[in-house]
Symmetry: D2
Subunit: 337 residues, 4 copies
């Protein structure tokens, strides 16, 4: 941690900071110049994070040098993590395609989508039983009935299920049906939900919040990891910007950046990022090329009737073409679909 | 709702949209031109919101004309709402000053802050017992012990308590101690929490999400209102932008804009918006002048020792000066502090 | 300047940085810890800015501690600057109201607006003869004919003229007619234009770029000041964010923040910031309260016929009411309108 | 154009809008419902754009349906444009690699870089002789001397030169030396510069402004095209967002989106987008996969000594590896490097 002092700081103020650092067992290295004084703080991360340096008299700003996450960092575990979901592996050697409708609407819809997903080559199946909707009057999901439908789809197709858990009170319920528990973008900083998922023995798919930095996503993952669950799949799904051509702005730089910072797998969701069906294929290609470990794509037997996110859902036949298109590229990059 | 069709749309595609509109009892008004076809949809809001127009073949875009919120809208209730909290009224005739520390750290700290808040002229007291922290290793709050300390402060000073509820499971607990239940920025779209707070008979203070539009804040408020709890205080607290001089960018235009759209009171939190103590006073003045119904300010007996948000907390004596500074301005605007 | 080295940095890499610092006459203060090495660089600002530290081997990041502007800084000149425009003073004792149409359309339109501006109490008159338009097919201004019309308005009303210069080639021409030369938001980083305006002996009104930080605005002002023209009026006019309720997001925190950093006057343009006539009055009040030295407001004799920015232009009678509304508040804050 | 009227609009207000539409030869299609009235306007784009609908009484909002650009649109010219620069073709069949240093510093530096660019397989060479710098005290380029050095590099290597023109006054000068004239991000809305470049008979490389939408970039290109110069290469180079891990946020969705909207080639600049050398390779791969027509990459013989953008510049040997890495992928996508 680097503590930059204000111009004209007094010796007393400098001593106060030094004393505080000593009080948590940290060392202070003072660089004093004509115009500027800087204190380098060396000590235990967790102890240093407890001190409110910026509120100390004479302090101008504090520059964190150490990362605020540990267990999910590449320093902590240099080799990349592979996560097992049933027979499926999500990690550096595969390119996992997760497909399914935004929301579970009926058994027929889900089974049609799941069969098509399976036939095309998806390895995980997604569908929402609990739907967070900005609009209070929009369809909010079928709840447990939806989960049961997803389980039926798994039984028939063998595809493990990824589904969102919105509420700490539903973790047990979702756990009974799901293979991967998804945390949605709006819940990325629902720290209590994250913490509880840290006690679960199934993988978590953590979506980046729409106004969260990559570093904040890694801190959110740390909330899960520090309770014991290290099976976390990160998901880049676009951030909020001024651009309105796409629903969000997909931040593909986040993939190689996260690859350096963390050992966890990271996938991309071009459907939510763009809200546009016509951009899915080029962005899936780009996700593969940029080094992502997979993609999550919305598909629907009949997008015109979808209760949620129709405009971005691929019809089932288009999904088939998409996977066919991606196969040779995955092979090029030596990733198994 | 206005449905803009793609160039070269077919009659069949137009008919499909019309048929769908009729299926929910809505009318369709078609404007067909050489280059462009537009369908005006007139019907019940909730019915129209169920239809996934953008996924229909031939549809280019859909422009919502009706608002997605109703009960919190000014059309629904033109007169401005005043909310009672004990002896305090939050509304168009007052300028409510909510003060207190970011987090409850000890009885001594809270009592000192509460006495100073009371003496200076604050009418509500705030303090966090449950703290959502981006950093998993930072102080997370004292929990129920913190709530009890807040209750003690209320007993001593008479100031009603505003405190955050982070988790649906804690609503009952927080309800027992709090006078106003706060929903933090990170939970603005925690729809289940909002819904549950709709069944509570105490006011809710709803903070704008850091990447939420004003319209989304109003939809979030609608989640609470539609379950029966109309006592909602909105709070502008800054949005996330590229500017780094302040922690967030305080959006004061949101106050008069919201004033036109909703009858609910709206206050401003300059402490979280800026993260800088030195900007609190001018922004409190501006909040008053722009028409806000109050401000929420962080204060601390000893900011250098604060476990949270020290740099933006006002020392108690500075808070006293702040309120003294605001009194004549409030009088100017005929608002009672 | 603080140079944070990468984990595992070698002594050779540290020495390389130290040597580079010495080569420009700067001192290096090294803080070496178990996990982290930090080098504090003390020396001449301009020399240090020439060194590409971030490209040196072993360097993780560089934290600028000194500001990149000097002459416009409050350290350089602690007392606030007042700028004379004819008989008008822009500075800490006045609240300058600049009014006028977005663009000069005709002599009649301009004279009507100027007379109304004068009668209501505006002290400067604005109007665009050269218009930067995003849309290549929109009205681009009357050019010199427009400037001549503005001069006629000045002759009749006595109000000094503020008008935009878009192009270095037009500086001489605009200089002949204008009293204050405006640099628009799109040109805030047109460094050659800024530099040339540094040689002019009339004041410059510099608008903040729509995606520029406050610091970048101050660096842009420094471009003008360092060539010799210190008469610069800064103007906050909203930044680009995800919020679409207003055209831009007015950043009123920028006013007190800039007040600490620079001695230059700063005004606010609520018309361009919001694009909404109904928000002008509350935001003018807020600008006054937050400490701005003035506002710039668009007015038009007939907004329905305006060739530019009609929706945000105030009709002349509304402008009269606006100034009447602001007078007592200006008096409250001891500023002369 | 769709004009949405306010609730409670009067017949007189509706008639006013209709009359205005008729006055420019446009048709009005009125959809009148219980809660809402909508007027579809059908007529000539340029005529309609002159009317300030939003300023008319009773108008709530105006939704542009037609695009504000024409000549650069895909509707105007469905087949993709290929642009010739000497022996080089930029377009759908090639993947153009433009390489070179951020700024021209010396003949030696430029010749080393140009030889390495040529040897590795770059087809165009870039280098800045005029540098727009946020910081007024930073190195601003060598000017004409720099242009002459670039010409020497072309002579030696045969690589055509891409270089930025900052100022209308320099167009002739830059034209004499350059093969492609670059418009930088800060000048994307310098409409006079764009217009003048419309009269030039050499290609223009137009970089997206850091806070410009894709649509605004296309309107900027239209400024050039409408004066007669249709040889425009678009360049995505990242937009400004809250994320600080990268210098800007590279918006790769812009590439396939622009591909649908315009026939012009579009390339990607990962160096300026990210500011990080370590992300160049994955993002070049992603650019290729997403359908870009090329990339622009900063290289330097000695990044530690670069006067500009060292941290994002690739050493020459790394650039060689980059091109080697991209060759098989380009072949996969049937694009010639």
């Amino acid at each position: 941690m680097v503590i930059v002092m204000k111009e004209g700081v007094s010796q007393q103020e400098i001593d106060f900071v030094i004393e505080k650092l000593h009080s948590v067992g940290a060392e202070a290295h003072v660089s004093q110049g004509e115009f500027m004084t800087v204190i380098g703080a060396i000590g235990d991360r967790e102890n240093l994070l407890q001190l409110p340096f910026e509120a100390y008299p004479g302090v101008s700003k504090v520059i964190p040098v150490m990362k605020a996450y540990k267990m999910v960092s590449r320093e902590f575990k240099p080799e990349l993590t592979s996560i097992r979901v049933g027979a499926v592996t999500v990690g550096p050697k595969t390119f996992t395609i997760i497909a399914g409708p935004c929301s579970v609407e009926s058994e027929e819809q889900v089974l049609m989508a799941a069969r098509a997903a399976r036939a095309a080559g998806a390895t995980l199946f997604r569908g929402g039983a609990f739907k967070p909707r900005t609009n209070p009057y929009a369809f909010q999901g079928l709840g447990e009935e939806g989960l049961a439908i997803l389980a039926t789809a798994r039984e028939e197709t063998g595809l493990p299920i990824v589904t969102e858990v919105l509420d700490v009170r539903d973790i047990e319920l979702v756990y009974r049906y799901a293979d991967v528990l998804q945390v949605g973008a709006r819940n990325m900083q629902n720290f209590l939900l994250l913490k509880e998922l840290g006690f679960v023995d199934k993988p978590v798919l953590l979506k980046r919040g729409m106004s969260s930095t990559i570093e904040e996503m890694l801190m959110a993952a740390e909330y899960i990891a520090k309770e014991g669950n290290g099976d976390i799949i990160l998901c880049e799904r676009g951030i909020r910007t001024f651009e309105t051509a796409t629903r969000n702005t997909l931040d593909l730089s986040a993939v190689p950046y996260a690859r350096e910072m963390t050992h966890l797998p990271i996938i991309v969701d071009p459907s939510h990022a763009t809200g546009r069906r016509d951009l899915i294929q080029p962005l899936c290609r780009a996700s593969l090329a940029v080094g992502a470990d997979g993609v999550m794509v919305e598909i629907h037997p009949n997008p015109s009737e979808a209760l949620c996110d129709g405009p971005q859902s691929l019809p089932l036949e288009d999904f088939k073409l998409l996977v066919e298109d991606l196969r040779p590229l995955a092979e090029f990059f030596k990733r198994e679909i």
